[in-house]
């Protein structure tokens, strides 16, 4: 969290406004600067993973709940959008929200046991949930088209803006990312955000502060999952397909590593994690058998030289 009360110039509102303004302009003009479709595609994946990691960071970095099921909620979002559009002829506009809500509802369901089970058992539950989701997606051929996945999801359009090119998807991703960042920022800077942190720091002490820890754990888990659903919706229209193999346990692990590398419990950290890890995966694609190995090496290197993560505060460094 920011250092409230520090008087550094970087915190002065004027400087902040200028910095945000410049960032905003650069973001808007980026597809004009980077015209190479391949690079723009990588940036789109960075945006996608940043949204995923911002959601996971709420769960893992702020509330301290380890979830290996994030890819399943991502998948729930992806399949929701794919099925709504392909099967029920929905337009794309309501899909991101509906996908997020589906993930949120399943998040509440999976979050319920946090009332009863300890953190490490909850972690096992999330692994099980992730596997069950993938197996159901594979086996329920009538609804999900099985291992083939749902293909040929049509070009989305929002109020007449049809989203075709990499640049179009860049702007769509940017809108979703901005929404994610703003809503998470509002949440974190309220008593809810502080309650999540208190639960991470010391759950018993948190309950004595008047925090209903059972409810707050469900809230943070479900809200974190909402953003995974949102990202899944984006993936469905961007990739034009969703298959069960998009949402394997390996994806969940990758997201966890991104959050750790970026720096847990800091608002912007997932951006750094998303950038570093997406670039690394992309760069080493030719030797993709070793992908997880290389990702592991990067994580160890970061943890050795910067235990709090790239953007993390010093909070986790003893």
């Amino acid at each position: 969290m920011e250092n409230i009360g520090s008087n550094s110039i970087l915190n002065s509102p004027k400087y902040k406004a200028v910095a945000y303004g410049m960032l905003f302009i650069v973001c808007l003009l980026l597809p004009k600067i980077i015209t190479n479709m391949y690079y723009l595609g990588i940036i789109n994946y960075i945006i996608l993973y940043t949204i995923l990691c911002m959601g996971l960071n709420l769960i893992l970095g702020y509330a301290g709940l380890l979830s290996f099921g994030h890819a399943a909620f991502y998948g729930l979002g992806g399949y929701t959008t794919a099925i709504l559009i392909k099967r029920y002829g929905f337009s794309f506009l309501p899909c991101p929200l509906l996908s997020g809500v589906v993930a949120l509802l399943f998040g509440i369901l999976l979050g319920l046991p946090t009332r009863k089970v300890r953190g490490d058992y909850f972690c096992l539950l999330t692994i099980a949930f992730g596997e069950i989701f993938r197996l159901v997606a594979q086996a329920w051929i009538g609804f999900t088209n099985g291992a083939m996945g749902i293909v040929g999801i049509p070009i989305p359009s929002i109020l007449g803006w049809s989203i075709r090119t990499e640049a179009d998807f860049y702007y769509l991703g940017l809108i979703l990312l901005a929404f994610t960042y703003i809503t998470i920022s509002l949440l974190i800077h309220s008593r809810f955000g502080r309650a999540f942190i208190a639960i991470r720091e010391d759950e018993l002490a948190a309950s004595v502060m008047g925090i209903n820890t059972a409810i707050y754990k469900i809230i943070v888990f479900a809200i974190g999952c909402f953003y995974a659903g949102l990202a899944g919706s984006y993936l469905a229209v961007y990739q034009t397909t969703v298959t069960p193999s998009n949402f394997r346990l390996e994806e969940s692990c990758l997201m966890i590593i991104m959050v750790i590398v970026g720096g847990m419990g800091s608002l912007l950290a997932p951006v750094a994690g998303g950038i570093v890890m997406t670039l690394a995966t992309e760069y080493f694609r030719s030797i993709s058998e070793y992908r997880m190995l290389i990702i592991g090496v990067i994580m160890v290197a970061v943890l050795l030289y910067r235990p709090q993560g790239i953007f993390g505060t010093s909070a986790f460094k003893d």
Binding site: L187, R191, F192, A205, S207, V208, M209, I219, S314, A315
Partner: protein, 255 residues
């Protein structure tokens, strides 16, 4: 008028009876001390009172309301705050953030407010920070507001934990061995601070091992031994009580 009445509180852990038929009252505005040898059940008593455990038998009546066995977060909301014997500040966040978490139950922001009425939320947050700062000023901790709690000296962390408990304006403050690990100067400061809290209208129930400290702050003492109430009286009465001296002989010996 009594703020808190504990009626025949019993707590069993399996076969162990940690508390047996403890009855006591705490009046508004008092500073009540609880002493007793190690393992006599003092911490267990306030754990039951603050909702971490439910007593196996008995009742806690607080502000004319039965609060026995309510969850901890509800009891805090009703105006009972506490600290822990083995210090439990939130280590990896700042001093100010610690205090703000203590204010949780006095901030009524809903999720709807967070997303849809963020200007209201912002105003509420601003007021919360102001309130937190007044408490930090009271404890002369305002210079440390931006420091991570774990980087404070030990004695200040103890003070921070008390501030975190009082920021919600509780009726009753429970302190579990607040001067464990403090040096004599810090202890005297703490005694003054507790008396200051009394003038602010907070009733204090304090468990403490250090006799000099408890004699200087408490107006009434309750002695616990082997889970039962053993004696009760003014500090002077307790100090001169032969039976109390006897149970302390092997333990402290310095009453």
């Amino acid at each position: 008028m009594s703020l808190l009445t504990a009626k025949t509180i019993q707590k069993k852990f399996g076969g162990v009876i940690a508390l047996n038929d403890v009855s006591l009252t705490v009046d508004k505005g008092e500073i009540v001390g609880m002493i007793g040898p190690n393992g006599s059940g003092k911490t267990t008593f306030i754990n039951n009172l603050s909702g971490l455990y439910a007593p196996t038998k008995g009742q806690f009546i607080f502000n004319d309301e039965d609060i026995t066995g309510l969850p901890a977060h509800v009891i805090t909301g009703k105006g009972i705050s506490r600290t822990f014997q083995n210090l439990r500040v939130f280590p990896n966040i700042t001093v100010l953030e610690n205090i703000l978490i203590g204010l949780h139950c006095r901030i009524d922001t809903s999720l709807w407010d967070v997303y849809a009425r963020f200007l209201k939320t912002r105003r509420v947050e601003h007021q919360a920070k102001k309130k937190a700062m007044t408490v930090l000023e009271l404890a002369e901790l305002s210079d440390s507001q931006g420091i991570l709690a774990k980087n404070l000296p030990y004695g200040k962390q103890r003070l921070l934990e008390i501030c975190r408990a009082i920021v919600s304006d509780p009726y009753l403050l429970l302190l579990d061995e607040p001067c464990a690990g403090m040096n004599p100067v810090e202890m005297d400061d703490l005694a003054d601070f507790i008396k200051l809290l009394q003038t602010k209208g907070i009733t204090v129930f304090v468990i403490e091992h250090n006799m000099r400290f408890i004699m200087s702050v408490a107006q009434r003492l309750i002695v616990l031994a082997n889970g039962s109430k053993f004696q009760e009286g003014t500090p002077t009465q307790i100090q001169n009580d032969k039976d109390v001296q006897a149970i302390y002989l092997g333990d402290e010996g310095d009453l």
